[in-house]
Symmetry: D2
Subunit: 324 residues, 4 copies
């Protein structure tokens, strides 16, 4: 394999640039020509494909976002779109792909591989950590630390005003960000999609806190919680508890997607980028590179998008014990 | 004056603890006994008043929130409530007060002074910077930097996805936070209460940007804007521009109130705390300490709450020029 | 076991407070009385032992340092000293200990256990990550991120002035912090104790960089490197390269020990604190709790202090490839 | 004036990029062509001069360092060098200059102006805040906050170990950074060049602290202090106090020069950049733009480099009172 291309797709995640850098520098090291596809599958269809070299990725390891940009592509969901994409790659002589992204990215990559057989290896880039086949995804550690920084700030106010704050964090269908924020943020309670917590349980926890003179409390709500998002949950609680408590709601929102990547994310991204590249060069295809128990592993795209990675029961238990 | 008390009231602001520390240490330096009233006017009514000394305020200069806590007090709005408060102070032998807070705090302080003549000097503590009588208030610089940090993160995503972000910042009726965030955050446009910006102007600015291949844009919206908050404004823009743009909205919310105070806020808070204390000891009363053009000044409470401090036209003009 | 005590010893590390909190809350959860020993073995000898409860550890999860303080104790190295310490524990009815610290702490704990048989379980708290029996130690992730933040800042200057910076990071005899900083900081070269890098190799790397028009470079030097610390190494390089390069040296120093713990460190500290406590209650003794491959494990003190945990060769290789 | 150029010179400072951006965008707004000179006077001599437009300065407002790079130029100190520089400017048709830098930059600018009469206006860019003609310089606020963040971290360790830390901050011949860090960092003592503090006074302050059971202390030492730098001062203190205290020394070093600029620095830099540009276009020459008491002012280069801006006595007094 002498010519490959890399692209980012789906929601951006901090560390994607560190991953691109590792792929480009790794390709240079192995004497392989490397191209960047701009705006994911969209750019593939339009042929927006640029040469990259070691210099192109200087001084990007610490930047959030992705220098290759990202976009949704409806056209790639059609077979005409994918044919165009393939034609562009063929014209440029691209023999292999590294795809950085999440669920949607790999769903597209699998279909494309089945149709055109261009070897593709994925690197898991999403803040949600909802991909099977890796302990952690690129961007997750940064997102958790960003959310945590916000929670620390909010606790100052909660504490000064004896308030209860419901803080909604991201994570789509997964409670990973919420659980980590719950433990690290010293939350009194946690509401995540994996584990239905009835509103009544939250009421009990808050009441127990009052009984112990705990004047302020923080409840972390994952955006995908079955009881509804933070605003809705807070409303239900208010209906049940009335004037006893002074409730505020904050939805952390898009700040969780950006920012300077943490050391952990830069190292993980570098390792996964290099792992994806070297896997591709060794003949891996239709798989995602991941790190499980500190070992580099490759998991079929199909499994990464269909299998569910459970949130550790141990961690959920810790929130209960530590808010004692 | 041999015995004074300090309290915080209204919304908490980063630097309030640095201010409390300066008052307590300053009192120790001047040989004056100092008490802390817990939860503002509420604690005054209940007699929740504790002795403070130099040790009590060790290691708090860097903490957000307020160690004396804050609360709304409906009872203090009644003359019975204020009588109780006065009785408590008299019983404890408190001869003077330092009040740290904003509009509401000083409104209460003025009424109380007029009724009971206990000398009171204020220190302006609010992130909104909406008080006449000081260039800046305690907490403003930290709030702006917190919002800016969030804006920097969001720009990573805006840029990666070619999106337009409407970001709502705090400030109540004042556009101070928004203006500073607009300049420092490199925003394309600004919507503040002081300066009606029609939605059509925003549409023009965004269209001009597209014409210049500017793929992402940030619009800062002050929470008090006449055109409605960020969600409403964004909806109006979307109706006018349709599918041309990919809009996202983020309301920064309560993170702007907390956090480690910046150097500027710690120094300003220390200076204002000491200034309020030393003013009180020298005979000032019914006034707020402020810093205007680097000079310590005292302004009657009445003026601080009734006069309007305008946002600098120069700064508003800068947003236009710098987004060229 | 109905009454236990916890203490911190050796250099402080961010996350120690989160660990103390987990032990205290865990003890409350399991109905066990818990005490805190102030200033490590020193406080044990002097009987400086205080009761702790859930409230005592409120709002400390985010604080650097250790609320139980830490100190060196020469007296504990004598058998008279240890006898006094034992007498104090006996008098208070302490039946088990949780020790948070590093090498020196566990060396003392092992001797003490062998003499007096008080069950002791350790939690690894040191920024150096030099303990066998756990993948990571409490404080390591924060120290790496602190060093990385400094490296990012220094790169701004290195880049603006076309300079080469030698940056010395902590880690005692271990290159863990240096390796992670090397990868995450995008360093051109790395000098660590585990892996002798001759000064001539650094000269080659820098010369290669110049040949590729790389105008600035960063070399990370672990404090324990055999070629000497950063100042000495830089001097040797300067002698060999002369006026070709503009070299600066920075020793990051004590900032690496403090600061708000990262999410990773708070969660690891909580998990290890709870793991140490629950191990102790289940009958573990003379062992350190650790996390290897996401599993809680217990390793004899003797092994933790005598066996060497190697730095991953994969990581060292990554620095070479990524600086291509 | 239809064609101007901008350059940065001397030590880099956070906010220089925001200043460049304001000059370039301001020039676009006023319909003036603008060039960037790379590596200061060096690039002027070599003709390393590039066209800039609004797009060139996108997304740099938040970056530390300077995109135009900086360098010392020995050749510019010779009249042959300056003649070459002038020839280059003439050839390119440059009619005016904006110089961003400090003392050395403006010394060069004044000589150059006197010889060749090319109108030049300066913007004060240096972390040291040692320029007469402006209350604050670009980069100062960021440097203080960076140093303060380090001091906060070190206090965690100082407090945990009952230690005295001597922390050396930058500032060349000026104590500005030190004074602000002293107040905001809650230091026990301060040693600055403007105000000789004998070592014996520091000994007294530390002894008084011990008498009040203050177990840890922080002394801020400006790099230019007459009693010698932090290492030397600490040694003298140790000789006088012996084993009574556990002293550590940290020199913060180059981290103070880099990093993401604060809101204050971005706004000040934008204002001064625009002010310098618009001054130049209106006919100002041989002056530096500054902000004094919130007003834009222009001060002759000669005064900015020869007159001394004193550190406020009020601030120095505050360190004493607040460490009570």
């Amino acid at each position: 394999m002498k010519k490959i291309a890399v692209f980012t797709s789906g929601g951006d995640a901090p560390g994607m640039n560190a991953c691109i850098r590792a792929i480009v520098r790794g390709a240079a090291y192995h004497g392989v020509e490397v191209y960047g596809i701009v705006r994911g599958y969209n750019g593939m269809i339009k042929g927006d494909i640029i040469p990259l070299n070691s210099q192109s990725v200087s001084n990007i390891i610490q930047r959030g976002g992705t220098i290759l940009k990202s976009a949704r592509s409806k056209e790639f969901m059609t077979s005409e779109g994918r044919q165009k994409a393939y034609d562009q790659l063929k014209e440029k002589g691209i023999e292999g792909l590294v795809a950085i992204g999440g669920n949607g990215t790999f769903t597209g990559a699998e279909i494309f591989f089945n149709e055109f057989k261009i070897p593709t290896v994925g690197a898991p880039g999403t803040i949600d950590n909802d991909l099977y086949g890796t302990d952690y995804t690129i961007g997750f550690d940064t997102a958790v630390n960003t959310a945590l920084d916000a929670i620390d700030k909010i606790r100052d106010t909660a504490d000064s005003h004896d308030r209860v704050f419901f803080i909604e964090v991201m994570g789509r269908d997964s409670g990973y960000i919420a659980v980590q924020c719950g433990i690290a943020g010293g939350a009194e309670a946690l509401m995540i999609p994996e584990n239905l917590t009835p509103v009544d349980d939250i009421v009990s926890i808050l009441n127990n806190g009052f009984a112990k003179q705990k004047s302020s409390s923080i409840v972390i709500v994952a955006e995908g919680d079955e009881e509804g998002n933070a605003q809705i949950v807070a409303k239900k609680i208010k209906e049940k508890m009335g004037n006893m408590i002074d409730i505020r709601v904050t939805t952390l929102g898009h700040i969780q997607r950006g920012g300077i990547p943490t050391a952990y994310d830069r190292i993980l991204a570098s390792r996964l980028g290099l792992g994806a590249l070297e896997g591709l060069l060794r003949g891996e295809k239709n798989v995602m590179a991941g790190v499980i128990n500190n070992q580099l592993v490759y998991t079929p795209f199909h499994d990464t998008i269909t299998k569910k990675k459970p949130v550790s029961e141990d961690l959920i238990r810790m929130v209960d014990i530590l808010s004692t």
